[in-house]
């Protein structure tokens, strides 16, 4: 097998663009949410200052190897998800390291970070971290069920497990998007999307008022900075998967920015309007509303 080594610097270039895009986009979204609350919100470059500060802290303590590996796994989940899915369709430079079965790998990577974080936070020994982790895992698991069903439905529909082939099948106009050819799968996946974006109504995992910030309670300095980096990458990477599977992918960077922003705004709109669910409410909500849509998508395809 021939491996094209030039793909590695190109993939890193994609990563660099996405990190910066993610930092600015999350700040912009925070600003929009603040305007809803009639505040001005954080500055657009605030995330960079926070990140530099946390990397620049002089002291840090550890609770053991797994505590150290938690943020590493989380960042791996975000970067891995981004690197194995084509970012820009039809571009050699930004097709990253995608291959024939990348859809299955993407599903793994979406869950990977949460799992790593659970192990790391558990080793910190803080009770709030344990509560946050148990909430997070149960919520993400139920949110993942409709997503998995929707992904299987899409894979059955196009007879392929390659994200590139799925995007290729959707080219040629908006009516070819999975959004219109398989609406039930997209509906199930978009409901699942809300559950993993860490926004209301599904942000009880890290409820700062109740269990001080949940899983990352003990995390600080570089550990926290790595999680912040992931916080910039992971939502974008996940939206890239959604965009490729359901919304026709993107053939250029401007289209990419617009589509990612609009998909992100879905969770923001719902987040600023609806109050927070308790974790058992959100589990019930996913099982009652999102899961049947996923089953329907599988049955109808």
């Amino acid at each position: 097998m021939q491996f094209d080594w030039m793909k590695i610097p190109y993939a890193l270039l994609t990563l660099f663009i996405v990190v910066n895009f993610g930092m600015i986009l999350t700040a912009l979204v925070a600003k929009i949410a603040a305007r809803v609350g009639r505040r001005r919100g954080i500055r657009i470059w605030q995330n960079y200052a926070d990140l530099f500060k946390n990397y620049g802290l002089r002291s840090s303590i550890t609770h053991g190897a797994m505590f150290y590996l938690g943020p590493v796994f989380r960042l791996t989940g975000g970067i891995g998800l981004l690197l194995f899915v084509p970012t820009i369709y039809g571009s050699y430079v930004f097709s990253n390291l995608s291959f024939a079965g990348d859809l299955i790998l993407a599903l793994y990577f979406i869950f990977f970070g949460t799992l790593g974080m659970a192990l790391g936070a558990a080793e910190s020994g803080h009770p709030h971290a344990a509560i946050g982790v148990s909430r997070g895992l149960s919520q993400v698991t139920t949110a993942e069920l409709p997503l998995a069903l929707a992904v299987f439905s899409v894979a059955l529909q196009y007879h392929t497990l390659s994200v590139t082939a799925i995007v290729a099948a959707q080219q040629g106009g908006i009516e070819h998007w999975t959004l219109f050819t398989n609406p039930f799968a997209v509906a199930a996946a978009m409901l699942a999307f809300l559950g993993s974006m860490m926004r209301p109504p599904f942000d009880v995992v890290s409820a700062p008022q109740e269990i001080p910030i949940g899983p990352p309670t003990e995390y600080h300095s570089s550990y926290l900075a790595m999680m912040q980096t992931n916080r910039a990458i992971f939502p974008i990477a996940k939206i890239v998967v959604y965009m490729n599977l359901f919304f026709g992918g993107a053939a250029s960077w401007p289209v990419f920015c617009l589509k990612v922003f609009l998909i992100y705004m879905v969770s923001v709109f719902i987040g600023v309007v609806f109050p927070r669910f308790r974790v058992e409410q959100s589990i019930r909500w996913f099982l009652i509303w999102a899961l049947p849509l996923g089953v329907l998508a599988i049955v109808l395809v």
């Binding site: 603040a34 609350g37 009639r38 505040r39 001005r40 919100g41 954080i42 500055r43 605030q46 960079y48 200052a49 926070d50 990140l51 530099f52 500060k53 620049g56 802290l57 002089r58 002291s59 840090s60 303590i61 700062p208 008022q209 001080p212 910030i213 990352p216 309670t217 003990e218 995390y219 600080h220 300095s221 926290l224």
Partner: protein
């Protein structure tokens, strides 16, 4: 010393006996050390800029002054636009605001919270009570001068200072940090024995290790 903090032998549910020494098992007794900044000046300047523009306050109100902090989160004052936000855990915070009078009982908690924060960290004394005791100057149960117990970077005077005064104070703190003059954590490490002696003088039921990160 409380009974549950004493060294003792415990029999577990599976019948195995083991020794427990809470003060050694759960805390670290290593004293803090002076931590120099980055070797290259431009890097340290960049970090100081980032530290100044990203003040994470520990959400811990010690006295009545805490009520002047809450409006800062609201649309009227909105401190977030100056890079100021609140963190619920001392691990992630880098600014401890002692808001108003500090009773001896709360001082103990304030010390523990401060020592769990990571270097560099800043302390702001809010209100006259932290400067000279204020209206509690003759109280048997509050401390008079905060800087004898924790290294204070900045005082905001008033009883109570308005939220605007707080914002102005945070602005001054930012200038101090940017100039590299807010090295309270290192001062604390340098004069560790002096601070501990002062703390132990007022806290009579000292039931924690000397340094608990």
């Amino acid at each position: 010393m409380k009974e549950e903090l004493l060294k003792r032998t415990v029999k577990g549910p599976d019948g195995v006996e083991f020794e427990v020494e809470p003060l050694r098992d759960y805390y670290c007794e290593a004293a803090p050390t002076v931590m120099p900044g980055a070797y290259i000046k431009i890097v340290e300047d960049l970090f100081n800029w980032a530290r100044a523009e990203s003040l994470w306050i520990l959400g811990f109100g010690t006295g009545c002054g805490a009520i002047e902090m809450r409006p800062l989160m609201t649309p009227r004052f909105d401190a977030y636009r100056y890079g100021i936000q609140w963190r619920p855990t001392p691990r992630q915070a880098n600014l401890l605001v002692i808001s108003g009078y500090l009773s001896v009982k709360t001082l103990k908690r304030a010390i523990r919270a401060y020592e769990q924060m990571q270097n560099p960290k800043y302390v702001v004394g809010l209100g006259s009570c932290t400067i000279n005791g204020g209206m509690y100057w003759d109280s048997y149960n509050t401390i008079k001068r905060l800087d004898q117990y924790l290294p204070v970077d900045l005082y905001i005077t008033g009883c109570m200072p308005r939220p605007e005064a707080l914002l102005a104070g945070f602005d001054d703190l930012k200038n101090l940090i940017r100039a590299g003059q807010a090295e309270g954590a290192n001062q604390y490490a340098e004069n560790f024995d002096w601070y501990k002696a002062n703390q132990k003088q007022v806290i009579h039921d000292w039931d924690m290790p000397d340094y608990n990160w």
